[in-house]
Symmetry: C2
Subunit: 316 residues, 2 copies
């Protein structure tokens, strides 16, 4: 379904979209490139299955969520000046930021068009949920931009930002699965809460990877978040820890220039010394438990439990 | 309705959106600033009225089209590095291009949410038309970007680009008006053709203003398109004219640096000497006539004729 949607784009945009998905290289030659994890699509399918439904309607919704996630990634890479994703140069790095902006806009449009095949009773609510969550994502992304120019960010402010940037979309994915399965409003709400908690867990785990992740697994340079002095969860927690190493870490975060390799190694040690990495790992586990606890009785299927583990296992 | 939609945005995005619309300054203080012309919204209302319907449904559709037009302007200003719109600094110039990118994405989402109040029978088609046209706009905008790095552009290529960049949205506005008035598919198609022709006429007139327009009227610097060596219709027509002045104009367009004031004055004279300005003015008139001819019998109301005149009168 994603390939069908991409096929409907005009030629130059189609080329870029398929490159982003890892289906072909920048000249259009098929490659065995890595795509994303497809976690959000899997959540739609697993949530619908937990509510007793599988079938083509649910697949449309899953593909649409995946398309939404990907156009926001393409825009986020422009904003964050990220040069690598899935082990290859990002779209803006290959075709320029103007092209990446336009491609994201066109994929936003396709995201919505993919929902128009849903039964009438569900379609309006599905579109409303996706576009409401899009506004939340934009709010989260903008807060994230503002963080970069601020002298300090509290753990509370960070959680609020991540709620918009990651939690809202995972909540929407799970709610959409329940909606496609004709669940009642309370059940849809419970699945939304599950997804939001899972998103918080996932982001905490992802933030740990941004500091100590293996480039062969993440597809990004080692210490990628530290290089840009990003105030990710382990860093924010470390700075708030009151540990003596926090003073040195704060010093390192005061400059605006990208960190050198030596500084990245130093910062990694300081974040660890303040307990920031352990705290973020523990936080990921706690939010994962809280996610499962939010599910309606009997809805915690083996699939949903496995996806929850997959989202946080990455840091164990 | 636009204000209600903007009110639903999170605070920092709401501030930027209202600034863009000219409702308040960059700190939120109400201003008597100029908004856009509202031509596309007027086309929705006039098309629906020509098909016999007025009312709140049509106003939703009109407000949605206007929101679509404005988020694409906010993104286009980033891409084209345009610093002024409606006589004030553009959103990216005030808050940075990252903020403008995120604001455009959030307004894209609101564009679609505004259509969800339409009667069920019309809503799915309306959303489909808007998002299909969005992909066309992206295609047109991308082609326009590519033109800037090309040594030459034919009149035919220019027309194709403008069809996506301006014609598609005006066609969609008129089709949407007819759709809200429960018109049949043939009538909707005729209104789409009317809008597309009108869009071509409007863009030709707008391109003339980009060369000889009064800054007090356009809100942009004099010769704004020439400064950036934009290959707008009068320029493309002049270069294709075979006139001897075309050789000198071609020479001026070979450099990549912004034109100096002297060069802008020189280029303006050369475009005029090649007949480029006259040709574009005539083309605007021809396409305006062709627009009215595309309307179904009896549908060319005084309102639609007046809007058609307004779109091209600007150059007379």
């Amino acid at each position: 379904m994603l390939r069908e949607a991409v096929d409907q784009l005009p030629a130059p945009l189609r080329l870029m979209a398929g490159y982003h998905y890892g289906w072909w290289d920048s000249t259009g030659r098929p490659t065995p490139g890595r795509s994303g994890k497809g976690l959000r699509a899997a959540l739609v399918l697993a949530a619908a299955a937990a509510c007793g439904i599988v079938g083509p309607t649910v697949v449309s919704a899953a593909a649409s969520i995946e398309m939404l996630h990907n156009w926001t990634l393409i825009h986020d890479d422009v904003i964050d000046a990220d040069e690598m994703r899935h082990g290859r140069p990002t779209v803006w790095r290959v075709w320029g930021s103007d092209a990446a902006l336009v491609l994201g806009d066109a994929m936003h449009a396709m995201t919505i068009r993919m929902l128009l095949d849903l039964p009438a009773a569900q379609m309006a609510e599905a579109v409303d949920r996706l576009e409401t969550v899009t506004v939340e994502l934009c709010r989260g992304q903008y807060e994230d931009c503002l963080f970069e120019s601020r002298p300090s960010v509290t753990v509370g402010e960070y959680m609020q930002m991540v709620g918009g940037k990651t939690g809202a979309l995972m909540g929407c994915a799970c709610a959409l699965g329940a909606l496609c399965a004709y669940a009642d409003a309370a059940t849809i709400g419970a699945f939304d809460s599950f997804g939001r908690e899972l998103g918080a867990a996932f982001q905490a785990a992802d933030d740990v990877l941004g500091i100590v992740g293996d480039p062969a697994v993440t597809g990004k340079p080692v210490g990628t978040d530290l290089i840009r002095r990003k105030r990710s969860l382990p860093v924010v927690a470390a700075l708030e820890s009151g540990a003596s190493a926090a003073v040195d870490l704060d010093e390192l975060y005061r400059s605006a220039a990208p960190m050198t390799n030596t500084e990245v190694a130093q910062a990694t040690q300081l974040v660890a010394a303040c307990g920031g990495i352990d705290w973020a790992q523990q936080h990921a586990q706690l939010r994962a438990q809280s996610a499962l606890a939010a599910l309606p009785a009997g809805a915690a299927t083996a699939e949903l439990a496995a996806l929850t583990q997959a989202a946080v296992r990455r840091v164990q």
